[in-house]
């Protein structure tokens, strides 16, 4: 198991890149390596990270989902309003996840059955879901939740912050699904060669759709964590997240052309982005220069990874 994770990390991720960034940062700022700060990074990465896990499924099939940020907003405000109506936390979470999965499934169906390229479908959904969340809330945040709900974003379990736990479980579960289930193997096959998958009797329509369902589901899970963490559900949440989420997946080595990559790489990709953001705050780089530094680091980290082989 341990060995297996290690291999996977080395194989997919830009492991060296992340290590490099960590080394530089800890040299510049000793407090970077403090346990609290590392926890901090993980906690901050959790929302994007959870969403990126679902996105990995979609990208593995050579698809893309631009609507995750908007799904996050819509499910987030619905989640917040259900909590306000006094629903029990379990029901709130279940309903939120179901809504996310539903929107994802719709994305999938229009893509597969309607044979519209996923970029366009999810671009449409991105706009529609954002509009709906504004309409639902009238643009005002829905805030102040009960302690039970806030536990999901701010609580700790055995000393580990709950968002980190949720993130970790999502990654582990996704890795297991991708590796050990029919669904996972089929998604790789579809992404690698859709024609061959079809001729092997795989129901491409169903499995591709499932990838979008999962992506919608994780976006909703991200929404639960974010809403609880911020103590507010906002219709403006998650604007621009699609780029961060896709970036985490792609930096983590999953190919936009499908069939290659995995969720361990995505974990590293998300951590790399989170670490860079954290590090620049710690080093107090001013905002204009942050943009330059961030861009350079991303490219260099991935280039560094090239040294590794091939």
């Amino acid at each position: 198991m341990k060995h297996w994770i290690g291999t996977a990390l080395r194989q997919y991720g830009i492991f060296l890149g992340l290590i490099g960034v960590v080394i530089v940062l800890s040299a510049c700022e000793p407090r970077f390596l403090a346990v609290e700060n590392l926890t901090n990074i993980l906690r901050q990465t959790s929302v994007i990270g959870i969403m990126a896990v679902g996105m990995t499924f979609v990208i593995l099939t050579a698809g893309i989902d631009l609507s995750v940020g908007s799904i996050l907003a819509l499910t987030g405000v619905v989640c917040a309003s259900l909590e306000h109506r006094g629903w029990p936390v379990v029901a709130v979470v279940a309903a939120t996840l179901a809504l996310g999965a539903l929107i994802g499934t719709l994305n999938g169906i229009v893509t597969t059955v309607g044979r519209v390229t996923p970029f366009v479908v999810t671009l449409g959904t991105m706009s529609i879901a954002r509009g709906l969340s504004h309409i639902y809330t009238g643009g005002q945040p829905i805030s102040r939740f009960g302690a039970a709900f806030r536990y999901l974003g701010t609580g700790e379990f055995l000393g580990v912050p709950v968002p980190i736990l949720i993130f970790a479980l999502t990654v582990l579960l996704a890795a297991a699904v991708l590796r050990h289930t029919v669904l996972g193997r089929y998604l790789y096959a579809i992404g690698g060669n859709e024609e061959a998958a079809l001729l092997s009797g795989i129901s491409v329509t169903v499995y591709k759709t499932l990838a979008y369902t999962i992506c919608g589901l994780t976006a909703a899970l991200g929404a639960v964590v974010l809403t609880s963490r911020l103590d507010a559900g906002e219709s403006i949440a998650g604007i621009g997240y699609e780029l961060d989420v896709i970036a985490a997946v792609v930096i983590g080595g999953t190919s936009l052309l499908g069939g290659r990559g995995g969720v361990w790489g995505t974990l590293i990709g998300a951590l790399l982005i989170g670490t860079i953001n954290n590090g620049m705050n710690l080093l107090m780089i001013s905002s204009y220069y942050q943009l330059v530094v961030k861009g350079v680091i991303i490219v260099v980290a991935v280039l560094l990874d090239r040294l590794r082989g091939d």
Partner: protein, 297 residues
């Protein structure tokens, strides 16, 4: 006389920089409400923080032959051609909140972001008695309110013994405010005040401080925009203050003057209405616009 054209109903086009900022949502809500009272038709279009998009929206208004335009320009310079186009089409235009640097504007109703920044700084200087360390959360890099609010803030604070120990951007977003503050807390524990260029970032920062066991009561916290959420934080004692620019009042005033002009043909008495930004704290909470009430359906 323009209003007499077509079906006789006055149609107003309005465009704001971004309806993803609660400030402009509130402004929109008020203006829509005011339009109902004035019995005019209004459309409010979001320019998504892109100057070129705002210009296109104005051009569409001209093509639609609206009777008047209310605009809160994204950039003072980049929207001048849009204003000039309106002038050319003889459609009267008023600006709200932010100004433009050219063209003919019927009237400008606004508050000054630079002045608001100064007010926030003065509040901190008062509370800290002129000494201490402050953390600043900036808005989206390059955005004009981010630049103006920062400029005003520094104009005052730099003249005192108060030291700005960290200035980082959180892109006007709550989630970013939270994570940037969490990060800063890793290296800074000794500070007495936090200033954020909008309430969204400030509220995120408050959440971060509370979660990290920083005693919020010991820290002077000042946000900007006085959104309802921020007011409720102030009421609960979790936030000290927020700068109020009365967007509702601004918008209503602007619309009233525009409609009056359209109905009577008379120019307004003044070409600039200036609303002074006020720092709202627990002491003067009722001076804030009650923003929950006028929410549009």
């Amino acid at each position: 006389q323009r209003a007499a054209q077509d079906d006789g109903r006055i149609v107003i086009g309005m465009t704001v920089p971004s309806l993803t900022h609660p400030f402009f949502v509130h402004l929109r809500d008020n203006v829509v409400d005011e339009a109902q009272q004035l019995d005019v038709e209004i459309i409010v279009v979001d320019a998504e923080d892109v100057a070129a998009k705002q210009m296109s929206i104005v051009e569409d208004f001209i093509a639609r032959r609206v009777d008047g335009v209310v605009i809160s320009p994204i950039g003072a310079d980049a929207l001048v051609p849009a204003i000039e186009a309106l002038n050319k089409a003889s459609i009267p235009v008023v600006t709200v909140d932010r100004k433009v640097s050219g063209g003919q504007v019927l009237v400008h109703v606004g508050a000054d972001n630079v002045e608001g920044g100064r007010a926030a700084a003065r509040f901190i200087v008062d509370q800290l008695a002129g000494k201490g360390r402050v953390i600043e959360l900036e808005g989206t890099p390059g955005a004009s309110p981010a630049i103006d609010r920062k400029a005003g803030f520094h104009a005052v604070i730099d003249a005192t013994d108060i030291e700005v120990i960290a200035s980082q951007t959180a892109n006007f977003q709550r989630a970013n405010g939270q994570s940037v503050m969490e990060n800063l807390l890793q290296v800074h524990r000794d500070f007495q005040a936090v200033y954020a260029a909008n309430d969204e970032m400030m509220l995120g920062a408050v959440e971060a401080m509370e979660a990290n066991k920083v005693d919020a009561a010991q820290v002077v916290t000042v946000g900007y925009d006085a959104i309802p959420d921020a007011l409720s934080y102030i009421r609960a004692g979790r936030l000290d203050a927020s700068v109020e620019q009365y967007p509702g009042r601004q918008a209503r005033e602007a619309l009233r003057m525009l409609v009056a002009h359209l109905r009577t043909g008379a120019p307004p008495e003044t070409d600039e209405v200036y609303i002074k930004p006020v720092v709202i704290s627990a002491a003067n909470l009722d001076e804030a616009e009650d923003k929950g009430v006028t929410r549009a359906q």
